[in-house]
Amino acid sequence: MKIAVCIKRVPVMETKFAIAADGTRVDEAGLKYDVNDFDLWAIEAGLQLKEKNGNAGEVVAICLGPDAAQEQIRKALAMGADRGVLLQAATVPADGLSVARALAAELKEGGYDLVLFGRIAIDSMNQMTGPMVAELLDLPCVTNVCKLEISGGTGRAERQLEGASEVVEFPLPALLTIDDGLNKERLPSLKGIMAAKKKPLDVKPAQLGDIKVSVTKMALPPERAAGRILGDSAAAVPELVRLLQTEAKVL
């Protein structure tokens, strides 16, 4: 089974962001980076499928991003992916379709049985690149996959909705976006980290097309004013309910 996993380098979010001087992006000074969480689950899904198939085939990690994203590709290789591809772009555009075009161009002749994405990149929060690539390559596509079975040339997945889920059947080759809950990603072993250094990693320029969506301003959300502490026990409840009725007017 030949599986491509598209991953993204994103800032580690446990930080206090500041806005850069040009007002259209976050200040990158001091930021740390990692593989997008959802993409780690996509890598794990790819590795598990390969292992179930007697380790036949390969898992290829593909990332569109700056040179430094080689570090994130190496992490995928350390987890067990066989080779990596970096589609070089100094910055990743906000326009998901231009990113999708560049990824589709790379995936087109790859002969992949499955193309996996994380459901959403937590930096742009675009949540669109996967289904756009599927459309450009005319692949069956299932998003938000939280359960997955592949047998022979077909798959069965469950996709998460708000307060419900859908069971979906599809033929291979296909493109899936992986949601929270499908698996827990493995940590790279020391052996894996050593092996990753010797695995092939191709670097080529990303073929980004025209741009129709751009970030023209970036801001921090307004702080909510801290409220009132009404007490330290059930004795404060009548006052709380009274304020909800008379002040907040929500009851």
């Binding site: 979010m13 962001f17 379709l97 059947e169 751009s214 970036m218 801290a226 330290d232 009851l251």
Partner: protein, 329 residues
Amino acid sequence: MANVLVFAEVRAGDVRKVALEAVTAGRQLAELSGGGSVHAVLAGDAGIGGKAGALAEYGADSVLVLEHAGFAQYNPEALAATLAQRLSGGTYGFAVFSATAQGRDLSPRVAAKLGSGLAPDLTSFTVEGGNVVGQHFNMNGKTIATLTLTGSPAVLSVRPSAFQPAANARPLATEAISSATDPSASRVKVVELKQGNTGKIDLNDAPIIVAGGRGLKAAENFKLCDDLADAFGNAAVGATRAVTDEGWRPHSDQIGQTGRNVSPNLYIAVGISGAIQHLAGMRTSKTIVAINKDKDAPIFKVADYGIVGDVFDVMPAFTDEVKKVRAQG
């Protein structure tokens, strides 16, 4: 002037509240761009056309009804083809989707077919020089990006609860349309819809949400939240990621950056510390109440009212008080 095509989301044969929100957003977009028409696409099994009235009530000038057994379940391939065909005719300047699991699956397919830009999950927008300029949470909900969307037709999706449905009645006008492809020939087939919380109000529809965190200590203690929600009568129960990871509540109940984004009138955080990922999914709630025994919990920084106390002491009293107040009516 630009006409707007709105995709009206249906689940299990019913128009969802998010569809009315999308029509409301579509109406705003039409007015902002000089007074175009709003057409809503309503797809489903035979008989779905009978639900078109709600869309007219919220501002759809025309409801395009797509009835076929092949749309009894979500049919992304036939829907994307049909919407792209409609949108490529030059009639529409904009397409509006809900930023739900379904809308965020469908809108990228349509945008890719058209070669259009897609601005996702907008919480507000204006129109400048014919272009949509909209606000979108990014960086895990820690920053707000203003996106400028060029080209026509432009595709956007709106965040659930960000645009409250506003009645703006039009005379009901419907037009039957047909699918651009054979709906039974789609490769991706939804074979079953599993409804969670059947009979209970959905998190995105509930004006009041009672959400529980790790402070509840065990799955069975969520009864405290369920009881308070029942006392309100119009409340839904949500949970934090820690809770859904423990398996105390289903994953679909998770509120936060990787789960649901909610914006109710009243949000009651029970035993929730208030991790940034959780706050990102509920900070736009109108009024926030926090009950937590740790006075330094970050949830108190966003709460309007707080009780620094034991949830096992406070919650039964809260439920009794709400019952009492409601009985007085």
